[in-house]
């Protein structure tokens, strides 16, 4: 027990995630709905990939496949060189689109339960939980139940639960979508400084292109369902300054790939 209860080193570095020609489909009654088609990209160790694409294009499916919650119909995902297996992956921490908090547990226990499941002892789990509740600013809500939280606060608990696992592969499904604009900016900053502390490999699904530019090392732009990769856009440091021409350029490039124009007047001009 001691071996696992040692505080996880803050520098658990991420590994390499390779998405290799992955296709996936669901059965919808007798019909087959293709969601992913020949998706390929690689996230280098410690890099942040932001995945953007139209609603329902299969971004969440991509996360589920990466976490090993489902197996792809075709193609392969590789984590640290090995194929991603179905089932338990101790390297993964994931925050879902819905907070998915256990309603019968307090905020504190909701975060700690993952650490306990992964083998941390009670004291250790409590310490790490306190640390990450502090990070998301919910320390004084540790004894509250999920039904007593606003949507944004519940989402932050879900994020804290994923971060507290100190995962080497962090998968986030629109984690800040339900959070108000101000808290969102704050969380984005917190998130960045956390990434500097430990450097997990991150796949971050978002609808918000500015968010993708400010957080990602690169953006994976996906098409409509069945989704394939439209383009991979590298983000450099200078692109993140929202007042710069470089930022505006990346923004319009991304939006263009998504089939939206950033010039709102263009549609009404002709």
């Amino acid at each position: 027990m001691n071996a696992v209860s040692d505080p996880a080193p803050a520098t658990r570095r991420g590994g390499e995630l390779i998405v290799d020609n992955v296709s996936h489909h669901f059965a919808s009654g007798p019909r087959r709905v293709d969601v992913l088609q020949d998706v390929s990209f690689t996230i280098p160790p410690g890099a942040v990939a932001c995945v953007v694409g139209p609603s329902g294009c299969g971004k969440s499916t991509l996360l589920n496949l990466s976490a090993g919650l489902a197996g792809p119909a075709a193609g392969e995902l590789r984590w640290d060189g090995d194929p991603v297996r179905l089932g338990q992956n101790r390297d993964v921490g994931m925050a879902f689109q819905q907070p998915g908090l256990f309603p019968w547990m307090t905020v504190e226990r909701n975060v700690a339960v993952g650490l306990r499941t992964r083998g941390h002892d009670k004291r250790d789990a409590a310490r790490i939980t306190a640390e990450f509740l502090e990070t998301v600013g919910l320390t004084e809500f540790k004894d509250a139940y999920p039904t007593q939280l606003s949507g944004g606060m519940a989402q932050r608990v879900g994020i804290a639960r994923a971060l507290a696992l100190q995962p080497r592969l962090l998968l986030l499904d629109e984690p800040f979508a339900a959070v108000d604009a101000f808290t969102r900016l704050k969380l984005q900053q917190e998130f960045k400084s956390l990434l500097k502390l430990s450097a997990p490999t991150v796949m971050f699904v978002t609808h918000d292109v500015p968010e993708a530019i400010s957080l990602g090392d690169f953006i994976v732009v996906m098409s409509h369902r069945p989704a394939s990769v439209v383009r991979i856009i590298e983000i450099n440091r200078e692109d993140r300054d929202r007042s710069s021409a470089a930022y505006a350029h990346k923004l319009s490039e991304t939006l263009e790939c998504l089939g939206v124009t950033s010039d709102m007047d263009a549609a009404t001009d002709d």
């Binding site: 919650l69 879902f96 992964r118 606060m153 696992l165």
Partner: protein, 268 residues
């Protein structure tokens, strides 16, 4: 703290049972009961009814008082509650087990579903002739009948409650690395528990009705027997007193189950 957070904190101190004044909390139900008794009294008085047809509330109260001090009455209550309790516990337990298995294993569900669907519409009362034929007026027969009545309510509702568990919770459990059994019990069944408990409360009413109905038809003791015996000797006040006891005991059982589920399963 943002205003939303302050509001959320405020919610933690909200009392569970509304914010009515205690006088209203006790007074309003009392008004309902008084109205019922008044209507009864007035009906008897207006129609000048004979006490064999419809006794006055005071006569029933007196009959009730006589019953309470007689030892036999308590024996009847104990017999009925024993039949209820044993059958109910068996029915709830078996129903939840089968319901959970149906939700977890599709092969099991496909096999058991048609049987459940066929049997659950054969109401317990339809079984009474056979139960008496097979088990006579024994405790076993009543117990099985109550278990039967409870079982089908619980199977259907437990399976449904399990299937309605938020799929994100299951995904979270798997992501955290929980084993299949831990996931089934500590997450899915736990998440379904409040819904299952409220069905169990509804099933208690059905089970209690089944007990009394079975006693009407064939039994040697119990509240149903008490009523039947009183009616054959035209003691209408005792009949109604027995009915009142059936109602009170049923409401008491339901309140206990509600209290248990609030104490152990509720989230706040």
């Amino acid at each position: 703290m943002t205003s939303k957070e302050a509001e959320a904190l405020g919610k933690t101190t909200r009392p569970r049972t509304g914010s009515r004044h205690p006088l209203q909390r006790i007074g309003l139900p009392l008004v309902g009961v008084v109205l019922l008794i008044a209507t009864w009294e007035v009906t008897v008085w207006l129609n000048d009814l004979d006490s064999i047809v419809m006794p006055r509330p005071m006569e029933v109260l007196r009959a009730l008082g006589d019953l309470v001090v007689s030892g036999e009455f308590w024996d009847d209550v104990v017999v009925s509650l024993t039949e209820f309790g044993s059958g109910y516990v068996i029915g709830v337990f078996a129903g939840v087990v089968v319901g959970v298995l149906m939700a977890e294993f599709s092969v099991f569900r496909a096999t058991v579903h048609p049987v459940v669907e066929a049997l659950r519409f054969i109401v317990p009362f339809a079984w009474i002739p056979l139960v008496i034929l097979w088990f006579g007026t024994s405790l076993l027969g009543k117990t099985l009948l109550v278990a039967y009545a409870t079982f089908f309510v619980m199977v259907v509702s437990a399976a449904k409650a399990m299937q309605q568990v938020d799929p994100t919770l299951t995904k979270v459990g798997r992501m955290l690395g929980m084993s299949r059994w831990r996931l089934a019990f500590a997450v899915q069944l736990r998440a379904a528990a409040p819904t299952i408990a409220s069905s169990a409360r509804a099933a208690a009413a059905i089970a209690w009705i089944a007990v009394v109905a079975a006693e009407y038809v064939g039994a040697s003791a119990g509240l149903g027997v008490l009523i039947i015996n009183a009616s054959t000797s035209l003691q209408t006040d005792v009949v109604i007193a027995g009915m009142v006891v059936i109602g009170l005991v049923g409401a008491g059982v339901s309140a206990v189950i509600g209290w248990l589920s609030r104490s152990y399963l509720s989230y706040v």
